[in-house]
Symmetry: C2
Subunit: 378 residues, 2 copies
Amino acid sequence: MKIMILGANGYLGWPTSVELSSKNHKLLLIDNFTKKNILKEYNRQPLLINKSMNSRIKLLENKNINFKNIDCSNYTGFSRAFKSFMPDAVIHYAELPSAPYSMFGHKEGWRTLENNLKSTFNLITCIKDFNPNCHMIKLGTMGEYGTPNIDIEEGWIDVAHNKRKQKFLYPRQASSLYHTSKIMDTDLLWFYVRLYNLRVTDLMQGPVYGIKSNNKISNENFFPEFSYDDLFGTVLNRFIVQAVAGIPLTVYGSGNQVRGYINLIDTVKCINIALKNPAKKGSLEIYNQFTEQFSVNELAAKVKKALKKVDIDVMIKKIRNPRIEAEKHYYNASNQKMKKLGLKPSLLTDEVIIDIAMFIKKHIKRINKKIIQPKSGW
Amino acid sequence: MKIMILGANGYLGWPTSVELSSKNHKLLLIDNFTKKNILKEYNRQPLLINKSMNSRIKLLENKNINFKNIDCSNYTGFSRAFKSFMPDAVIHYAELPSAPYSMFGHKEGWRTLENNLKSTFNLITCIKDFNPNCHMIKLGTMGEYGTPNIDIEEGWIDVAHNKRKQKFLYPRQASSLYHTSKIMDTDLLWFYVRLYNLRVTDLMQGPVYGIKSNNKISNENFFPEFSYDDLFGTVLNRFIVQAVAGIPLTVYGSGNQVRGYINLIDTVKCINIALKNPAKKGSLEIYNQFTEQFSVNELAAKVKKALKKVDIDVMIKKIRNPRIEAEKHYYNASNQKMKKLGLKPSLLTDEVIIDIAMFIKKHIKRINKKIIQPKSGW
């Protein structure tokens, strides 16, 4: 299959590229290092810094892989690449993925909205105009749903009202501009899919943890750049860095916020499942992509318990919540569709936590404790 | 009250400015003539071309009115004006209002999304940062709802699901990029209102017809520029121009598409009602702003019947629908909230249609028949 991967250098993009390279696809990887540049601009460094994309590609066995430095929010450059490659499928990660960054200030908020929406708009219009049969796989987020008082279904809900019925997109109400940009993506994609009979898979993913795309991989060139800072670090990865660095895990607020989490290994498995089960023409296929629900307190306790086994003594500290979010809420989200298609979840065991901690320990000298505390509040 | 009117030169903006000027408010009118420039760029002319904004303002009795040429999608200029004026209320019309323009091509689509979303983002962030008590009144559109198979409520719906309940924004699914940009506005505003306890009124308006903001006004300097072309003309205004020009009213497709319509006089009344009944802090108050539902066939028949009284013989011609839209659908939308607050609708009588036709007849030489047939299809 000819597959374009947008945002191929990212935390999900690079592991996905590595995994798909082993399946004999022809790949075109696209990135313009926006996130890397933002990290520099805001003086945050990832734990791991990768070699150049081209030198990493050479390490892969599959020689049918190319990389292009293209800004997906620039239509001219992007559409040229799309037309000359003519992908069968596009995996779209070319979005700014951070809630705290999007809430940093006016500039960062608009940059997130514009980058994410424009990349999505450019991609879906290229598909419509040049290759309507192309399957788009796109990362949404569980955060689009927010924390409603009813069960969260997988993307859609049947509403009965005054003795009539209608199936709607499940109503979305997020708690950051980043998450809101993803709601706008969903609105836009459903519009195009419906009107032009296109095929889009939207993966509503929970926060991801881990460093490997596959347990057999140990070459760090195949790991993604790993962020643990206040802007781009996700909660569990940040906790394990704090534990290894010997500083308290910082729980925001009461710690009763419940979310669905997923191992990076499963993210890549889900992408493969989505590739093998393309959305039908005219259908926006939505999956809730997480494997387990935890409160932040439970996550912290799990890290403490696991790392005790390797003699790391973990402290936990509650700090004032820098975010505006419900700290006590109902949360029950469905995640059956991926399992029905064969996903065998890699759960959050002590072993998984220890494995991540051992990777971090290897790079302990690179941990910068000053970039972990939240500096962006809303 | 100190009121900013964004998009003050527009079809709704200028009549609103004229009406509010008579209520002794202090007004700051803002426009950068984007729509006027687009009309030029695409070789469409409105029926009426107004004098400069400053010369028209001088004709108003109220001397507490200023005009500034500012692009609301430019944060620096817009925020400076906002901070120095510090409005009690802002009426936000600074959006590109055309479905066909938004569907013309990639450039026009993105321009609509960017202009509308960025103007709304700049305004709501100014309110949040500089004057959180300011009441924002914003034009949404009935088109955000699309044509669902259940009754359309006023902005919100209670959903019962698995024995639990949640009130949600009424799910939205539009049929043009323009209408989709308004859905994105709604998502964005609900996010800000909820998080920062702001006050926003969102008026989900149906297609508007007419030329006067008030039956007592006859000075054409107080009329808005009146578009009847394929890009910016609304259906009923276009029909009456076609009738006066002696060419057939062009009904798109079967003509069974039902929408809610409103007289420009009532638009202005609704803005006044919204000003007098500000949304509460933390509340996104949504009204469905139309007075009567008609199918396109009914509209055409009404024009034919009314204009027969003044010896204008009206032809009606069905043409291939240039839009992708449901031509047979359920449609039942609520519009009770404005009436409960005192709106006495100005209905679509023969007299109203004749009055608009007489205005058009006066300018019959300016009608360009070539700009009426749809050139943008989707």
